[in-house]
Symmetry: C2
Subunit: 139 residues, 2 copies
């Protein structure tokens, strides 16, 4: 990760900045949502719930792109194109809690979409292996 993400833009992944994640619908239409994001040594990681649109899209096409804007300077941004190498429920609840602490200072309150309840929601962590990184502006 540290090799792939330019030092000039690593802060965008470290700070609690919202990311736009895009998957591709079966018909070829991009689907974008706003998510929390973090990274470990190998992967950029996002978290969703089983059955949501991006979960279904990623099962069909694991190619995914994450873009993080600098809210102080919209012309400074980081695009990470990659592939979901692992989509796992293991550790996914711990991961959403860690993301929630990063972004809100508190453990996850449990956001549900219209088809989910606390009992039916199954968290999934997606480990994205970066394949191409664009930092804008370049250094």
């Amino acid at each position: 990760m540290t090799q792939l993400i330019p030092a000039s833009h690593q802060d965008l992944l470290e700070k609690p900045l919202y990311a736009v994640v895009t998957t591709v619908m079966p018909d070829g239409q991009p689907q974008s949502t706003v998510v929390w994001v973090d990274a470990d040594d190998l992967y950029v990681r996002i978290n969703s719930a089983r059955g949501r649109q991006k979960d279904k899209n990623l099962l069909n096409n694991p190619k995914v792109t994450v873009l993080i804007l600098d809210p102080q300077n919209a012309f400074r941004w980081l695009e990470v194109r990659g592939v979901v190498e692992e989509a796992t429920t293991e550790g996914a609840v711990d991961h959403i809690n860690a993301l929630s602490v990063k972004y809100t200072g508190q453990t996850y309150f449990g956001g549900f979409n219209t088809r989910e309840t606390a009992d039916t929601q199954t968290r999934v962590m997606y480990k994205i292996r970066p394949t191409k990184v664009t930092a804008f502006p370049g250094s």
Copy 2:
């Protein structure tokens, strides 16, 4: 447009807020960049230059998605999925100047990528017909 974009989120298109636009590479990988955006009665409109990656992608697959975040509240955003119904050089210079005035207060300074010069850059305006709009949170 006014029928498709909920009144609660029309301000996101009217204000000079940066948009994340995503096209799809020939191999199925989403490609995301940050752009200026506006809208008329029918279309959401972006502007790029001939030969750039998103221009090439849109010639291959006209499905495109634009997401605009509220910088004051990242959990308030608007996703417009759509199709480029027209990609035209006609009026494209006027359009980039209008966008520039919207976002910077001045006409376009002429940003070029590494393969472009003032002489070789050909502006293109993309008219996106919305096919599905998601406003978050819903009303």
